[in-house]
Symmetry: D2
Subunit: 440 residues, 4 copies
């Protein structure tokens, strides 16, 4: 309902593009709302059926690419309402009873987020599983362990790979709490102050498959950027794990390290240097981590200054939210594709396991002979270069405490991942069933 072009361009142009990803969710929300209007007696059974039929039509048009929001359409909500009015006359004009675009967009974004997060959590678990397979396969490939970027102690390709599996597995929990927070129905909160009609918020919440009704109508509205932020915080954590992987890959594939070869299918060349084989994709993972963190920050700072109530500033958080979910989904796919393309270079790895890695080990041998650790440490400091280097593979198998190179507990992590996978597959099934019911 804006009025002139400088304002339109500035405030709404971005939103129009983004809203095309929300069409289906806007329809779902409208289906649930219409059913409630009928239950309340605002519209008749017959009218409901007409609305339903026309809304389902929009789904078909959308899937054929024939329902596109464009400049002049204002937003997805107006576009849908206008379509209904054009098709159904006065009946179309009734659909906006007892709701506001403010609670509508909330419904759309929460449904959208559920769908995307379900896909992301699936990709997260499957990437973690790839890391487990990788760690199993190369469990006893020796590798120097680094601290301060200097060789420090004996490690293994298995330990390295499994560290990502465990990190991703932990991140599923962070994602879950954001998912649950988002899984509350805001429908009925109106413009932020409810509606002065006897609506049934439980009814629409159940129809849409939300776990519960978010009660306070003002909280519903102001939670929009807050919940998005909670999701983005989980997304940043995923990107940070991916960025560690990317940084390591770029280092381990330098000719100087030479620990890993990667399939050239994921590499790129150069316009000027005929010999080049670059891992751009890992550089982009590293860079896109900053993009997601910046999106998180943007959302936090937009939120920070806002008074209670609905504020148009919310609109500016939409792009950051959607872009981040897309980036994370793509990144996890990129990670999966990269892991399976790695061939560790055993010869180089064994060569890299030099005497200095075993200095602490020699100090411990003295400790077991009764020398206090600090004294043994000082002894070895002088002598380690002349001490015998153990066989690296044998050595790493001997570190048997929990999480040591000889006891990675891959089976335990795998078991947890399988359990989480089952849980989320069920959750996905429920989500899909809800949508089927709405459309049927």
């Amino acid at each position: 309902m804006q009025s002139n072009s400088i304002v339109d361009q500035y405030c709404f142009a971005d939103g129009i593009t983004l809203d095309n990803a929300l069409v289906l969710y806007d329809v779902y929300g409208s289906l649930a709302h219409a059913a409630m209007l009928e239950k309340m007696g605002i519209i008749k059974k017959k009218e409901l059926n007409k609305l339903k039929k026309t809304l389902v039509e929009i789904v078909s048009l959308y899937k054929k690419g024939e329902f596109v929001i464009q400049n002049g359409d204002e937003d997805v909500h107006t576009k849908v309402e206008n379509y209904l009015s054009a098709e159904l006359g006065d009946l179309g004009k009734k659909i906006h009873t007892a709701r506001s675009r403010n609670d509508q967009v909330l419904v759309d974004l929460r449904m959208y987020a559920k769908k995307e997060m379900l896909e992301i959590v699936g990709a997260l678990i499957s990437t973690a599983t790839e890391f487990i397979s990788f760690a199993e396969k190369f469990q006893h490939y020796p590798m120097p362990g680094y601290t301060h970027m200097q060789k420090a102690m004996p490690s293994s390709v298995g330990l390295w790979g499994a560290s990502f599996a465990e990190q991703l597995e932990d991140l599923v929990n962070l994602l879950k709490v954001a998912y649950d927070l988002n899984d509350q129905s805001p429908l009925g909160s109106g413009a932020a102050y409810g509606v002065s009609l006897p609506i049934d918020r439980n009814f629409t919440s159940e129809k849409l498959g939300f776990k519960k009704v978010q009660k306070n109508s003002l909280y519903c509205q102001i939670s929009r950027p807050t919940f998005q932020l909670a999701v983005l915080q989980a997304m940043s954590q995923i990107m940070l794990a991916a960025s560690r992987f990317a940084g390591d890959m770029l280092l381990f594939t330098t000719s100087e390290f030479g620990f890993f070869d990667v399939d050239s299918s994921i590499c790129t060349g150069s316009s000027i240097m005929p010999q080049k084989k670059n891992l751009d994709v890992m550089e982009y993972v590293r860079a896109k981590t900053s993009t997601v963190i910046a999106n998180e920050l943007k959302t936090a700072t937009i939120t920070a200054g806002l008074p209670s109530g609905y504020n148009a500033d919310f609109g500016e958080t939409k792009g950051a939210f959607m872009e981040s979910l897309t980036i994370v989904k793509q990144t996890l796919n990129v990670l999966s594709a990269t892991i399976v393309s790695i061939t560790p270079n055993l010869e180089k790895l064994e060569e890299a396991c030099t005497a200095d890695l075993y200095a602490t080990h020699h100090a411990y041998i003295k400790v077991l002979e009764g020398v206090p650790f600090r004294t043994a440490y000082l002894d070895v400091k002088e002598t380690f270069k002349s001490l015998k280097v153990p066989n690296p593979v044998t050595h790493l198998k001997k570190s048997l405490h929990i999480g040591g190179t000889g006891n990675l507990k891959l089976g335990e992590t795998k078991k947890t991942l399988i359990a989480k996978k089952k849980f989320w597959e069920k959750e996905t099934h429920v989500f899909e069933s809800v949508i089927s019911s709405l459309l049927s």
Copy 2:
């Protein structure tokens, strides 16, 4: 073990100050570790008792302010080890067997975080409870509801207050997942690559009261900034809720709005304007929100660039972490003190409930008479100024759907808060028991 003063000053000066808050946790970690060394046979029962006695001495000295880490002490771990060596000779030099300062600092920070988070979650629940009491007390005080900072629809002081209670209640869940993530024992991960001695990581984990062992030794180390970030993300969310409250308070206490008076005990004056009564404290809440967000961001960006392994960069995240926990704890106390100091100005509030707030209401009346909403909307647009203003109190009581001004469901929120309070009190009790056991 650094070597010269420009490096010392640059790298370690900040850490030394901060480490004074970690002394107790370093002692707890050492007590558990010593017990395990005895179990492994590295030290004798009698030696363990000596170590224990001397460590408990440190606790006493610390509480009397006589155990202070200063320039030249390097850090809390070296200070404690040096004290043990000075008191116990060779025995003191054994304590560092099978551990590194890298896993030690992790233990310290996680114990510290548990303690602080338990206090914060307590303050969070109690602040939420204050908001519920406030909302109950002023439940039917009418107030304009704003969108775009313009008067929009009828609201109430109760709806406003309760919106914070629900937000804080939801945040308990975000805090919990960060708490659980942090509640994993890193002890035994060494410098990031475990130790080549048969340590018992379950034993120390249980002694220290961690919920589980964090397995992969490399993951233990690199999770240091990641887990801190997870905690800071929850802290940012709390600050954002506080900042909304602060912004509203600053607006509602302007002479132009005049909705609330606050007790002058929380106000400040001016050095030049004799008449002033300022709410600096709310401005600081607003500003400190940026501080915590910046600390979160700093932690994320430090983490982003790091290779797998231990990196000294971790040290630079410590201050941001500790400062943020302190700010959040103080902020929640400030919020509690402010809420109870508010006196809503009923007269001003009623005056502010002008005709325009009820325009949508009038449209809904037409809807109930069968007019399509969009048509009713257009009618009222022309006429609302001349329509009858309902009694504001009566009107807000009529909004009876879930979360409407007449049905805030305060009882439900209160019930949830009580359950959460119980849960966390139990958690706190367990934490305190663990420490008692370690010291006895």
Copy 3:
């Protein structure tokens, strides 16, 4: 030169869209480079003319919307090179001699930035000039001055408006240093390590109108995100000024303050509340400030982790850079449109100038009678409510020191703005001449 679709999609999809804004600059760079190749003897005069003709063709096609970079085209540089090869055969394949896509994209981005910044600085100066006119027009409209969001001392609409004019004028200097930094020719730096051919970097630099050659070839490359960051830092400062204006506008147009009315042509309505007139556009200014700050931060953090040399991460900074320049340009236009639409409400403003604003004034009267300020302050603290309120207009005219309400020095600021305007118009003219020469 990437190879498969998951990598393409992830790394290059965004860039392809963005590169459409760089076509002209890529052509300009190619024109200068081709001229140098001819000077070096790599191509013949006749060949140069053919290249020139074909490159000018691209300009025409582009302006007609017929030269569009699409998926599969890789980037603007390859698209242009491919077009030349298709049209000119082997001659087209010569154009890439002695340059890399790495220095090409730098040339494109710097030319693009010059063009955009010239427009922005023009808009900045003209917006500042609008503020001066506004301040002149309403110079003696009294207005309360606020500290801590509470009424503090007498102020004026003129003082308020002029504060923006001076801020924007200062920002021209920040913009200039970023402009100058950017105005260095990177052409000839190759992939970051120069080229082993005797190229003439001064020649191309002059052809393209750069102020100087950026010497060190490695620095050329790694300065890409650094110079972009310098520009974005200036952009953030502009947005922060705009955001202060937006925040004030949203406050001063509340019904509670009621200081300003704005033309409804820049307002929007509500889908549910028929009475609403919202200033969305100012909310978007506020929110987009966070977008630009986040873009700045993203660029800084992408830069932070990078090793010397060319890194693909640079590509991820392109969108943030271009988006920010566009936002700032639009924002300045929005500001201009808003300023002229303001009608201050004199009656409301005078009413708001209540007794408490003059308390310090009364203390000063005592000071002039010889009472020490601190004593006078304490006296007035008790009595100010009963003291005579001066005529607000007369009073504000009496504050005659530099920058006081009675001596705003608008003329001085206007004079400086005129001088700066002239300077930048000349700079713009030079830029345009350079392009004309290249194309002729």
Copy 4:
């Protein structure tokens, strides 16, 4: 003038510590202000002399560590005023005439910033000069040039070192514009709305050595965080250059690269690994870059939400500002110390210059024989491994265009640095003279 302890602790505790660094500047400001009060006739010549004597006493006490702001002192301004009142009775109470703590703190911070920035710019120029000497010394040490972290083309230690010199030299310009912005006198702007007494702002501005008076009193106040931000933006740029150096150092000193050795005086050891020699100091440079960026961001976001006028939020920006200036000063010293401690490992460097680096070179040879570049590129792609590797030193001397490895233009950069050094030494001299005059 705050009233109770929860507020004090929350709002003012940090500021009290920080204010100890501002004592001298507060005294300087008071000296200038007192001189003006005498000129205005508010105090007598004799009174001025007494004030001056007592203020100079504070300087002596401060330098002996006997003038320390502590809890209960509120802030530096009150502490100084209280001291004057205690020593001089009613005369002390006159000093606050015609000023506010708001313009006082601005004066203090701007004087403080000038002093710190003068030291920083000195360190910046001297660090750049160290890089030039380094580049001269190792000008013809060959080194692989990297793109995408993969070996790309022949480079040199000289090119690498000189790239930092040029970057730092450019940054002097960014620093200068921030310095000039900050170099405006805010004294006389009062609480933000001037003072209703005929003060002489030019007089105090000149006394304090500011380049000009910042006119608009409201702009003076709200420019506080804005000018700090401008300074921090320059600081971030310096840190980003330092962070590139740190990242490269950490990479080039790995045993895998082994390009550089550094003196062990700037390295640290490990508590558990006797063999370690770590470059913590470079890791801290990398991490502190995030600290400064976070401080910049914090300042920007605190600023973003603020209404025109004085806001207590400004106080929260003080720590971020002061900490960043300190970090940057230390970092530049750390850089200088590190550069001189580097010994390039010539053997390793030459070894690293393998055949693939010269592939583009071979393509260019074909180009000079008339083959189109793109064709030559494709040829060499197949054959480069068997082509003759040129002598690396001879080869790098042949790249003779501006900024190529054979023509680094070190002399030019050195000349510019000398000119800038002279300029800033003069500026420093002027600053010191101003202070001498004030105190004499």
